[in-house]
């Protein structure tokens, strides 16, 4: 009997806002889906599109990228730069066949613990409906089973 599908979600968050928001969700004893793996980074500007690709390849079913609201960046403009990058990267992923629903972007401040909890619940539910992200995972399996690689 196979186990029911539990989505794996990787969240790349900035330490100053969204990570603090997640912290607030925790200290406020808010309950949210345990499917999320949080990766804390100094700033959304530090999030290379490679991170998102790697997460999807290595088994993530959805990816969340989240940081400070515009104007709130600890480094003044990291999130503005990130926003431009995401716009382009999102179009690229969509053009090459990754469903847009798999990658979410949000602004969550340190005060928005409730928003964080809600968003994680929402993404988990949506991903559960979408099912596992098999496209990259199957290609990954091919590599692992072929010794010539």
């Amino acid at each position: 009997m196979s186990e029911p599908f539990e989505p794996k979600i990787v969240a790349f968050v900035c330490t100053y806002c969204t990570y603090a928001g997640a912290d607030l969700a925790g200290t406020s004893r808010l309950k949210y889906a345990p499917n999320v793996r949080i990766v804390r980074l100094p700033c959304t500007g530090r999030i290379s599109p490679m991170f998102i690709l790697k997460a999807l390849q290595k088994g993530a079913d959805s990816v969340l990228v989240s940081g400070c609201h515009p104007g709130d960046c600890h480094f003044t403009s990291g999130n503005y730069h990130a926003r431009r990058r995401w716009t382009v990267f999102r179009a690229l992923l969509s053009f090459t066949g990754i469903p847009e629903e798999r990658i979410r972007f949000s602004w969550i401040s340190a005060a928005e613990g409730a928003k964080f909890a809600e968003l994680i619940n929402e993404i988990t539910d949506d991903t559960r409906k979408l099912g596992p992200f098999t496209q990259y995972q199957e290609l990954q399996k091919v590599i692992e089973t072929q010794s010539s690689y």
């Binding site: 490679m50 431009r84 990058r85 382009v88 053009f95 066949g97």
Partner: protein
């Protein structure tokens, strides 16, 4: 006097006066319809230049050859409008000093006639308006629209098919004037971001990274398309990226040499409809 003779003597004059140390142009290729880059350092060598409708390569790639411009001397180069556009991009990214490049401009009209372009310095070519109105060849637009009309699964299958052909020769990188990183991300092995063997997943990685790094920087010269030994339509991805940058940020790469690179700048009111 035909344009070939005119440009031969101009290149020779530039070299003999000592204004430039080198002229990069085209010479005869291995077959009648192919041209190969020719690097002339003396007026005599300049007599070997060929200029006709087969001269389609974007020679601006060679301007960034390591050490070429580090002595501060000038270099002459034969460029079509797409080459001039790439020089604009390279200047805006601080890779070139405008005064070091002497441009022998030409345009290929109707695929057979070659016309001279006025001007020698990059500032002489006001190509901004033209680039804004420039459309890539109809087959590129058509193919890109066909892909956009597909469902996500079909798109994935399409690119899986295409990228599975990739042999990771990196010819697309070598030929591209915009791929000038001293250490390309695929050559980095700690951490190894992009797998070195040419399996489909790693090919996806490489081609996506390449496209992302060229977003808003592509001069759409089509060199990657021509260089690809397995005929992956690389240009389609670049075209789609250019379209996105234009619609989202009203940015067209290489319009002029003063623009700020699109992903290295921002506006506070950039669109963010997709952000929750």
């Amino acid at each position: 006097m035909g344009i070939q003779e005119q440009y031969r003597s101009e290149a020779a004059a530039l070299l003999s006066s000592g204004e430039v140390k080198l002229v990069i142009g085209f010479g005869a290729g291995s077959t009648a319809d192919r041209r190969r880059p020719l690097f002339a350092r003396t007026p005599e060598e300049a007599q070997k230049f060929v200029l006709d409708a087969a001269c389609i390569a974007n020679l601006s790639t060679y301007l960034l050859a390591e050490g070429l411009l580090s002595d501060g001397k000038k270099v002459g180069v034969f460029l079509k409008p797409d080459g001039i556009r790439s020089v604009n991009i390279l200047i805006s990214e601080a890779q070139l000093k405008p005064e070091q490049v002497v441009i022998l401009g030409y345009a290929i009209e109707n695929g057979k006639d070659v016309a001279a372009l006025e001007g020698r310095n990059i500032s002489d070519f006001s190509i901004g308006e033209k680039i804004r109105n420039l459309t890539p060849p109809p087959h590129v637009i058509e193919a890109a629209e066909k892909i956009e009309a597909m469902s996500a699964e079909e798109r994935f299958e399409y690119w899986k098919e295409e990228f599975s052909k990739c042999i990771k020769c990196y010819a697309c990188r070598q030929v591209c004037p915009m791929c000038y990183c001293r250490r390309c991300i695929v050559d980095v092995n700690q951490p190894q971001w992009v797998s070195t063997s040419s399996h489909t997943l790693g090919n996806f990685e490489w081609n996506l990274v390449r496209a992302f790094h060229l977003a808003g920087r592509c001069a759409s010269c089509g060199a990657c398309d021509r260089a690809c030994p397995v005929n992956i339509p690389l240009r389609l991805v670049n075209y789609r990226m250019g379209k996105e940058v234009r619609s989202a940020f009203d940015y067209v790469a290489g319009e002029n040499s003063d623009q700020k690179p699109v992903l290295a700048s921002f506006k506070q009111d950039d669109p963010e409809t997709f952000i929750l």
